[in-house]
Amino acid sequence: MTHPVQLYCWHFMAYPHLPADFDEKYDTGWVTVPNRLWDSEKSRGLYQQYIDQLAYADELGFDGMVLNEHHQNIYGLMPSPNLIAAALSQKTRRGKIVILGSLLPLQLSPLRIAEEYAMLDNMSDGRLIAGFAPGSGPETFNYDVPSATSRGQFWEAVDLIARAWTQDGPFKHEGRHYPLRYVNPWPRPTQRPHPPIWIPGSRSRETLVEIARRGYCYFLSSRSHGKETAGSQQQFAKILEEHGDRYQPFRMGILMSAYVGETDAKAQAEAKEGVWYFLKNCLKGHLRREGRQLTFGPGIPYIPPDEFRNYLKFSDPTSPLLGDAESWDDLDESASIIVGSADTVYTRIMEILEHAKIGHLLIQFHLGNMPDALARNSMRRFAIEVAPRLRAESARLFGREFPDLARQATPEMAK
């Protein structure tokens, strides 16, 4: 049995109707971006369009559809990804539904997510991939979650959910953050022992160790895929070994964006507006130096002091971020947003797979204010002209590099 790379379509559901002078007039697209900019008339049918694009990905044979949770921003209009997942569970029949992930510290009780995910797993007939995330800066500001305690809260919530899915109830949970007398959620998930669990991380050793200890899948939430991505894979592999485990490609996923056109020039011409809307507007407040970055930094002090010291030692606050790109060449350097012909996109992605050996590729096709027809064209070209080659070549690569894989029935390795 061969094990090709798993290809997912990720939709962020950006707000596409910002005024043309947004970047000039507003200092952020996050947290405090004024919601009077929401245009109710223009936004009619927007969710339908986005849901239909994801359903189209399922028709095209993508291995799954990816959703995530954001609040109070123009970057992602899914305060509740579970609502979209519910819609997809009824509109699609095949692909995985990946929620990456629900932000657990924002919940009054994580059991709510245990329940909703179990519902979704039943509603989709066992297609849910259960992502959990702690949230970062924006959520601490939006929901008043203290950064410094959010990590402890998060891991207690993850463990409570996993236990609620696997251990017969009712049982009591004597946790610090979520003490409960009667844990006994109905329904239980379809997948046994429970849906695969994915956890995003951005190279924090602490996070990788917690993932490794529990045998979960690591999603690298980085927006650049140069040498660091291979470095992260090696770091994770080493930590897995320290925990008596072994790395294989389906223990890890990455995010990237792609636009596939007929030729490089046509792809660039078609994608230009959406890509730059995404970079300049959606990333303002997140991955742009212009404005105030609210996702990481000293005002969001969730990482332990030792790790912050390392970050200070090895980072340069003046270096450009993804959203600071001014040209296609700048973008090429990040290897995160790949725009070109099918050959170009295939070659660039295969380079990443060859050096990073990662089995779950989560690809954003709709960027910023990209029109529906362009997003669909790009997805179709990818599915027809790129995916088959990627699957064949990655299966050869993974088979060669990870001979143990052949003995495994399914690439779903996360417990």
Partner: protein, 287 residues
């Protein structure tokens, strides 16, 4: 810097001067908050007292607390004071340190001889929100901390403000002290946003020792109404005293003027003032 062992937790303590003990609880733009040693303001206090300045849990060389809400921190300081053998002392708190000082004073008024608050947070005052130090600690354009300096100082361009919160990457140890103090602030004061205990205002009546409430003229972090509320709520306090020309970081910005206010208060109230007589309880409980 001494490291004190408090029930197996390390607590970093700076000390200077001789005489009656004066405990100093620091703020953000302060000793332990940014710099490793006493500044001119603290040295002025040390001319007439034995100044003892512990670093908050997780700050400078102090260990983080396993649980670190305001009640935990208050109890932590009771243990620190036990370990120092201090049963009665003068207490000065600046910024978040002022909040902790007030919490100590309402719980153990018998231990606090005199209470001095400088730009103290801790109270909930409707429609007078405390500034968002967390958001402003996120630099603009990756390196620009102008708005953080504007929050903590009268003017973001003064040498003192630029010295304590420079743009870009500063000295590594100072960056770490800033980060650790923000992290302590996140533990103790992020929720509810920010830096107050709703119950504290109704408890101030218990702190009947002589008290001094001070604020910088241009404190952009703690609205003036908070100083007024402390002055009105503490039975031993007179009106709020203003340090002209200073912002939130009055001890750094106007060390002499701020120290003059404290000196005058300490002189007026005698070397070791006794607590005010308790109000007759019969009067309060009479039907």
């Amino acid at each position: 810097m001494n490291i004190l062992d408090v029930r197996n937790r390390r607590v970093a303590v700076l000390e200077a001067g001789a005489g009656a003990p004066l405990v100093y609880l620091h703020g953000f733009a302060d000793v332990h908050g940014v710099v490793g040693d006493f500044q001119p303001f603290h040295r002025r206090l040390a001319q007439n007292a034995r100044v003892i300045a512990p670093a908050h849990p997780g700050c400078a060389g102090s260990d983080e607390l396993d649980r670190c809400g305001i009640d935990d921190v208050t109890f932590h300081y009771l243990e620190v004071l036990d370990a120092l053998g201090l049963t009665r002392f003068d207490l000065v708190g600046h910024c978040v340190g002022g909040w902790i000082a007030a919490e100590l004073a309402v719980r153990h008024p018998e231990q606090v001889a005199r209470l001095m608050l400088i730009g103290a947070c801790g109270l909930f005052v409707p429609d007078e929100p405390i500034g968002d130090v967390f958001m402003h600690a996120q630099p603009e354009r990756g390196t620009d901390l102008t708005t953080l300096r504007a929050l903590l100082f009268a003017d973001p361009k003064t040498p003192a403000s630029l010295r304590f919160f420079p743009d870009g990457r500063g000295d590594l140890d100072e960056e770490m002290r800033r980060y650790q103090t923000l992290r302590f602030g996140s533990f103790v004061g992020f929720k509810p946003p920010y830096f107050y205990n709703r119950a504290l205002r109704e408890r101030l009546h218990r702190a009947r020792m002589p008290a001094l409430v001070v604020a910088g003229e241009h404190d952009h972090m703690i609205p003036r109404a908070h100083g007024d509320a402390y002055a009105a709520g503490l039975p031993g306090a007179s009106d709020l005293k203003i340090v002209a020309g200073a912002g939130h970081a009055a001890p750094l910005e106007q060390p002499e003027a701020t120290a003059d206010l404290l000196d005058a208060f300490l002189r007026e109230t005698g070397a070791r003032s006794e607590p005010l007589q308790s109000a007759p309880t019969a009067g309060r409980s009479a039907p």
